[in-house]
């Protein structure tokens, strides 16, 4: 079991490095995708409803990597991601679907709303709607969509990531 968490930590670290270095050359209007947020969101979205401790664990690790590689104070992302993590689980419990546990339309709208909230609340150097902001949204959304379909296939096999 611990092996799973180790892989998650390594993957989050890998995505943090990737978005800060590799994607610097593939920026869209100066923006790079927030891969750490995307991965965190996928983990929480496909996690079992009653696993609150896991949500906190994902939020602490993802938040730490986001803060370390940004100009923010350490802990800002951790707090935001914990709130976002519980929001995802709460909204998911309210929007239960019998046929499909993880509908794409919920995922996409939830992801977009919560990423906007995260980006606006993060104490960055600037916080405003601009071409950079939309570039970041679109870019992250692309990866989230791809990630959703991959996770859905895994979930179909194992019922949970």
């Amino acid at each position: 079991m611990w092996f799973k968490y180790l892989i998650i930590i390594l993957l989050l670290y890998f995505f943090a490095l990737l978005q800060n270095s590799f994607f610097a050359h593939f920026n869209l209007f100066g923006a790079v995708p927030n891969l750490v947020f995307v991965f965190f969101f996928l983990l929480v979205f496909f996690e079992k409803p009653d696993k609150n401790l896991r949500v906190i664990f994902y939020a602490i690790i993802a938040g730490l990597f986001l803060d370390v590689f940004s100009c923010a104070y350490l802990g800002a992302s951790i707090i935001l991601l914990i709130i976002i993590g519980f929001l995802i689980k709460k909204i998911q419990s309210l929007l239960k679907e019998k046929k499909d546990k993880h509908p794409f339309v919920y995922f996409l709208s939830l992801f977009l709303i919560l990423l906007v909230i995260y980006d606006l609340l993060m104490p960055h150097l600037d916080m405003s709607f601009g071409i950079y902001f939309f570039g970041r949204m679109i870019y992250s959304l692309l990866f989230a969509t791809a990630g959703f379909h991959v996770c859905k296939k895994i979930v179909k096999k194992d019922n949970v990531i």
Partner: protein, 280 residues
């Protein structure tokens, strides 16, 4: 009945207590993290640097391969070479224009300061940290302090250092929304008798900048080059900033604005120079 009610209240209280205890532990954890903020970040950068460097180089190679596909043939590389050559020429032109205006003595001083007196520390870029900020692999151990100008070898201004750790620093680019720098407009036409026009270049985010606070009665043209001025005292004079691409003039406003194409580019730029001894 009362017993059941008490159990329910106790359960609620327990959950509340656990929640409060959890929150307290979390805040304590965050407090400790921030107490060692600089050390933690520096250690992370130190550990990650070799991998990030590889990823950064891989990204550069991959973008080099992909760009020609999108840009038809080898246009990207050729364009980059021409841009660099152009930057060099523009830098020379900006200096020559000033000489022609009779400020030979001052320019000599400027040349001296730019070519000889500046102590620079070469640093390698290894990351773009969103919101128009770069990561470089030199820090306070190399003599870098906050607020030092950062340029490339062609004298193109990138920005200034703003977060300095022991071995690493962050550079806020001039395109950052909080960035405002004093500039002067070098007329592209060979009108050397024209007076210098002052303005400010503001960051627009997304690696974009624009020119502002140019009096409406001043004549600026597309293609005019912007260089740093000494008014602000943060950057040395005559560093290349950008080129006017489109002006926006409204007679009802006291100042005119213009779109500016910045000279700095992340493509094929691996090394930057931090000016460590510029006196403000």
């Amino acid at each position: 009945m009362n017993g059941l009610k008490n159990i329910s209240i106790n359960k609620k209280n327990n959950i509340l207590l656990k929640g409060l205890a959890g929150a307290a532990v979390l805040f304590l954890f965050i407090f400790v993290l921030n107490f060692f903020n600089a050390q933690i970040k520096n250690s992370f950068y130190f550990l990650s640097y070799p991998v990030q460097k590889v990823f950064f180089a891989a990204g550069e190679t991959a973008s080099g391969y992909l760009k020609p596909v999108f840009n038809v043939g080898n246009l990207a590389k050729e364009n980059e070479n021409l841009k660099r050559e152009n930057e060099k020429l523009l830098f020379q032109i900006s200096l020559l224009q000033a000489i022609e205006k009779g400020n030979r003595a001052l320019i000599d001083m400027s040349l001296q300061s730019q070519n000889r007196d500046f102590t620079t520390v070469m640093a390698e870029i290894y990351g773009l940290d969103g919101k128009d900020a770069l990561s470089i692999n030199k820090g306070s151990a190399d003599g870098i302090l906050e607020g030092m100008p950062v340029i490339n070898q062609q004298g193109v201004l990138f920005g200034k250092t703003f977060e300095v750790y022991k071995n690493f620093s962050k550079v806020v680019l001039i395109s950052n929304k909080n960035s405002v720098i004093s500039v002067k407009v070098q007329q592209s036409a060979a009108d050397l008798s024209a007076l210098e026009i002052d303005g400010v270049v503001k960051g627009n985010g997304g690696l974009e900048v624009y020119l502002d606070l140019v009096p409406v009665d001043e004549q600026i043209n597309e293609g005019d080059v912007l260089v740093t001025s000494v008014l602000e005292g943060v950057f040395p004079k005559d560093l290349l900033v950008g080129k006017i691409t489109k002006k926006e003039k409204n007679d009802q406003k006291p100042f005119q604005q213009a779109h500016v194409e910045p000279f700095f580019s992340l493509d094929n730029t691996n090394n930057l120079f931090v000016i460590t001894n510029y006196k403000r």
